[in-house]
C-alpha cells in the first residue's frame, strides 16, 4: 500500500462515517479531563479540516494531546509546529498518555538524540528536528524504517522535513497567545471529524 494512503488510518475510518461538521465552539472538557486546574478546553470544528483548541496551562496542553493520542491508529504521522517554549514536547507527553504509555516511561525532549522510542501496543516514535538543518539527515537516521513500524510518529520542528512528510499527516500548530495560554490548531484531512471525536464523552 502506498504510504500516502495509510498515514492516518483512524481518521480515515472516521471519515467513512457521515461527517459532522461542528459549528461554533463547544466545551470538550467535562468528564475525562486529565490536566490539573483544567479551565476551559474548547474545540471548534471548521469545514476546512481544522480543529482549534484553547489551552490555558501546560496541563491542558497535555490533556488535549492525550485526547488526540487516544484516537490515533498505527501509522499516524503528526507534524508539530511552534516556537521554542510553545509546548510541543508537553503535547507529545499527552499523546503518550493517550496511547497508554506509562508516565514512568518519562517522555522527555528528544532534541539531543533526535529520536526517542516508547514501546506500547501502538508505539510512539518521538522525533525532534531542532538540531537538523534539513530532512536529508533524517533519511540517514532511518526515517523510512520508522514509517513501516506501525507506530504513531510525532515530529517536532517538522517544517524542516520539507517534502519528506507523507501525504495525509496531521499538522499540530501551537501558538503562544499569552502567558500560559496557547492556541492549538490541528489540521489535515479529517481534522474536523477528529474535533468531534475528541470532544466526545
Amino acid at each position: 500500500m502506498p504510504r500516502s494512503t495509510r498515514a492516518v488510518p483512524a481518521l480515515r475510518r472516521a471519515l467513512d462515517r457521515p461527517a459532522i461538521v461542528q459549528q461554533g465552539v463547544f466545551n470538550m472538557a467535562p468528564r475525562r479531563r486529565r490536566g490539573r486546574g483544567a479551565g476551559e478546553m474548547r474545540a471548534k470544528g471548521r469545514a476546512g479540516g481544522e480543529a482549534v483548541f484553547r489551552s490555558s496551562s501546560p496541563g491542558e496542553t497535555r490533556a488535549i494531546g492525550a485526547r488526540l493520542g487516544a484516537l490515533l491508529g498505527p501509522g499516524s504521522v503528526l507534524a508539530l509546529h511552534g516556537e521554542l517554549g510553545s509546548g510541543k514536547t508537553c503535547f507529545v507527553q499527552g499523546l503518550a498518555d493517550g496511547l497508554g504509555i506509562a508516565r514512568s516511561a518519562g517522555v522527555s525532549s528528544p532534541t539531543f538524540v533526535i529520536i526517542n522510542e516508547y514501546p506500547a501496543r501502538i508505539p510512539l516514535f518521538h522525533f525532534d528536528l531542532y538540531r537538523l538543518p534539513g530532512g536529508r539527515e533524517l533519511v540517514e537516521l532511518g526515517w523510512g524504517d520508522y514509517l513501516d513500524r506501525g507506530g504513531v510518529i510525532a515530529i517536532e520542528w517538522a517544517e524542516r522535513m520539507g517534502d519528506l512528510l507523507p501525504d495525509g499527516h496531521l499538522a499540530v500548530t501551537l501558538e503562544v497567545t499569552g502567558e500560559r495560554t496557547r492556541l492549538i490548531t490541528i489540521s489535515g484531512k479529517g481534522a474536523d471529524t477528529l474535533a468531534e471525536e475528541m470532544a466526545g464523552p
Partner: protein
C-alpha cells in the same frame, strides 16, 4: 594493557589509547564539531553515522602515531554501546568489532553515562556511598552509588536536559551555539539578575524540569517587545537563568546526597564545564562536609579516554563481550 577506546554516541567522534598499567592516557583525539563545521559554513550536527565512519580510521591512525604504538600493542578494543543515536553507536561498534577481529583482541562495550562518571575517578579515591549528577546536552540525571560501578537512578529530567536548556535559551537570546559558554560569559559580567522560577524545587522529589524555565525566558523576552533584548538585559537574563539552573541542581543534588548519606558528590557531563555550577555545587557540598569530585574540564564533554579507561576497569572486573555485541540506544544506568 593498552586499550583503544572509541566513542561515537552522538556528535563527537573520539578515539583514545589508555594504558591501564600506568593508569595514563597514551594519546587521544576528539573530532570536534568546530573542525567539521568549517567546510559547511554553518552548524551541521555530526549526526550522520557516515561522518563517524569517515573519521574513525584516520583518527585511530593519528592516535596510534602520536602514541608511537603499533597495532600489535593494543590489547583491548573498547566501544560505547549506548545510550545514544543508533546509527552513530553502530558506526563505532562496527568499527570496533572490525578492529578487534583483525587484531585478534577482545572487544568490550560500555555505557556512555558510566563513562562520564569514570572521568571523575582519575581525580582520586571516591568515598562511597556517593551521588552522581550527570548534566549534559542530552542527559540530566541523579544517581545514588552504593559502591563503585553500582548505580540507582534517583532523579532525572521530565523534559529538557540542562545543556539543551542552555542551548535553547541562548538561541532565544540570539547568542551563539553552543549556549553554555555563551550564557556563562554573559552571566559573569551581569551586574543584576532577572528573577526566574525554580521549577520543581519544592516538589519534594528529585525530578528535574527545565522546560518551564526556558518558557519563562521566552515570556520575559516577549514582554520586552520581542526581538533581541538590549545587551544589558541579555546579561541579566543569562545570569538569572544560570542562577535558577544552579539553584535547582544544587537543591536536588544535596537533597539526594542527604537521603543517600553520601560522602562524595560526583559532577559529570558537558555542563560540568560550567564554572558557576562547579563552584556552586562545590560550595554546597563543602557546607555538608562532603567532597565534590568532577573531571578536568576537557574530560567533561564526550571523549574516548573515559570509554577506554572504563573498559579497562570492567575487563579487570571480569566483564566480557563477544563479537556479537549489540548497540543499545536506550541503555540505562543501573
Amino acid at each position: 594493557m593498552l586499550a583503544l577506546g572509541i566513542e561515537t554516541s552522538c556528535d563527537e567522534t573520539g578515539v583514545a589509547l589508555f594504558d591501564s598499567l600506568r593508569g595514563a592516557v597514551a594519546a587521544e583525539a576528539v573530532a570536534s564539531q568546530d573542525d567539521l563545521h568549517a567546510p559547511y559554513a554553518g552548524v551541521v550536527p555530526e549526526l550522520a553515522s557516515r561522518r563517524h565512519l569517515a573519521l574513525l580510521a584516520p583518527l585511530t591512525a593519528r592516535v596510534m602515531g602520536e602514541a608511537g604504538v603499533s597495532p600489535g600493542d593494543i590489547g583491548l578494543v573498547a566501544v560505547t554501546r549506548g545510550p545514544g543515536l543508533a546509527g552513530c553507536l553502530l558506526a563505532g561498534v562496527s568499527f570496533g568489532k572490525g578492529l578487534a577481529c583483525a587484531l585478534g583482541v577482545p572487544l568490550l562495550g560500555v555505557n556512555h553515562l558510566e563513562g562520564h562518571i569514570q572521568a571523575c575517578l582519575a581525580e582520586g579515591a571516591i568515598d562511597y556511598p556517593a551521588v552522581a549528577l550527570i548534566v549534559s546536552g542530552g542527559h540530566t540525571l541523579l544517581a545514588r552509588m552504593p559502591g563503585r560501578g553500582r548505580y540507582e537512578v534517583i532523579g532525572q529530567t521530565r523534559d529538557d536536559a540542562v545543556g539543551e536548556a542552555y542551548d535553547k535559551v541562548a538561541s532565544l537570546l540570539g547568542l551563539p551555539y553552543p549556549g553554555g559558554p555563551a550564557i556563562e560569559a554573559r552571566a559573569c559580567r551581569a551586574p543584576r539578575a532577572v528573577r526566574f522560577p525554580r521549577p520543581l524545587i519544592a516538589s519534594g522529589d528529585l525530578q528535574f524540569s527545565l522546560s518551564g524555565l526556558k518558557t519563562a525566558v521566552m515570556y520575559r523576552i516577549k514582554a520586552g517587545g520581542g526581538g533581541r533584548p538590549p545587551e544589558e538585559e541579555i546579561d541579566a537574563i543569562a545570569r538569572g537563568f544560570q542562577e535558577a539552573v544552579l539553584d535547582v541542581l544544587r537543591s536536588k543534588t544535596m537533597a539526594g546526597a542527604r537521603r543517600a548519606g553520601a560522602r562524595t558528590v560526583i559532577l559529570a557531563g558537558g555542563v560540568a564545564r560550567n564554572e558557576a555550577i562547579r563552584r556552586g555545587l562545590e560550595h554546597a557540598a563543602a557546607g555538608m562536609g562532603i567532597r565534590l569530585v568532577c573531571p578536568p574540564k576537557r574530560y567533561c564533554t564526550d571523549n574516548a579516554v573515559m570509554i577506554a579507561s572504563l573498559a579497562c576497569a570492567k575487563w579487570a572486573a571480569g566483564e566480557r563481550h563477544g563479537l556479537d555485541l549489540d548497540i543499545d540506544p536506550g541503555l540505562r544506568l543501573c
